[in-house]
Amino acid sequence: MNNSTANIFKRCALAAIVIASGAFAADAGGPAPAFTLTDLSGQPEALSQYKGQVVMVNFWATWCGPCQQEMPLLDQMYKKYKPAGFTLIGVNVDKEAPAVKELLARKPVSFPVLLDPANQVSKAYHVDEMPSSVIVDRKGQIRYIHRGYKPGDENEYQDRIRQLIRE
């Protein structure tokens, strides 16, 4: 095997190890991309409104099973930590709103749900797994990205949120 093939192999193996090392991967610590999206009633909301708070941006869809599973838990978490300066924004990626309205009518949540049908925000946040949760600190920096959802992950979310609230 010549040198360049070996290097490619090494880079690839490294990438695989990093990805496989867990659903939680610290991002480079970059700023959370700004966005403005409309909620279900058509009112625009911007991420910048929540500067100074710890924000979890959760990307979900009506057709995604694990997303549905974590919603009630996210709702509980939102209610619990909101007084301490925490907000959860549910960014829905469905192409059409009616299914979203219908689902939320049956299973309502108290945190803000914004619609990203053109998937611009999903692209900006490099969403590569459904669901994805991005936790942003009070200064607007991305601190943690969690990919997927398995029962028990909500404990990890809470640990990270508590940590960032204390900062």
């Binding site: 496989a20 099973g65 694990p66 049956r106 590569d128 398995k150 029962p151």
Partner: protein
Amino acid sequence: MSKTYRIVRLGLVATFLLARPGGGAVLPDDRADIFYSDYKGGGMDITGESVLVRKKFSENFSVEANYFIDKVSGASIDVLSQASVIKDERKQKNISLDYIHDKTQYNFSYTDSAERDYTSNTLHFSLSQDMFGDLTTVTLGFSDSRDKVGENDGSAFAPRVVWLGHAESRSYQAGVSQIVTKSLITGVTLEVITDEGYLANPYRSVRYLDPTAALGYSLGSQVYPNTHTSTAVEGRAKYFLPYRAAASVSYRYFSDTWGIHGNTIELGYTQPISNLWILEGRLRHYSQNHAIFYSDLFPYADSQNFVARDQDLAAQTNNTIGFKATYAFLPDGWKIFKRGTASLDVSHIQFKYDDFRNIKYYNDTPLGGNFAPGAEPLYSFGATVYQIYISMFF
């Protein structure tokens, strides 16, 4: 002497197991199904009844159990040729375990099938891996079957089974599924099966010209090779139409060491209507040539090492048209159930043989029939199949 219509080889067992593979990184919903089917054709009436339950025991692990009973009555073409009504029952039990870890899904299953004169046990293992952004799923599988083959020397009502031999079968499966666009998924599957042992249907006989016989021919025993290896490759694609419908196509090529080449083409169309109904239609065309050692009428006894007159090995085509309607009677769930659906499926299959002759009807009266041996009309028949089932998801 009564005959039994042979229902299964790897048949239901293998196909059930292959319907299992994973990929998609999430286990399917828990469900319970109850199923009833009725096949009427070629003088046979076969009912099928089944229950299936699937339950997750954690996010990573689920178990599926299935019980299936086939009940056969009537008189198949062999029996039509060689007298006597048959009645038999086959019971099949299957248990299947699925485990997901990250992007890999493992499946292990065991199937036990038993009828009075035939038993079969199969172990199956497969592994599915999602790759390349979950757009590709690679599946590898392996199955091992042990069969015991017998013959009922008594009657349907006073059976006396004589065990004739064993057969062992191994199947190797490899498949790749590829998402091509937001609306298009494609797949390819390769399956190689090798069997050895007693591979013939003991109830079928060959016939050979015999000027001393009243009918002009005499019956003799089939002699099959004791090995058989086959390869099947299938390619399929499914496309999402923008107004919410799905169209699918598949083609399978089959080839084996017995000289059979088979081609299968299927087209399917799925049309949901509102939230409550899904209507589907399908067309299937199949054709094959005959096995090397098959003949409807041999020139004399023991003319070849291997001789068969089993219609499965004859040159034939069949065409199917089918319709299915599914109604969600519990679209939003009720108590522990998330969803409940009821389905009715009706299909018609027309079978046509190019070198298997109908020797029953035309030989009844007068003795010797109106046709010389080998000049009887080629066999063809139609079969209608009904399937009704209810699926509860929870």
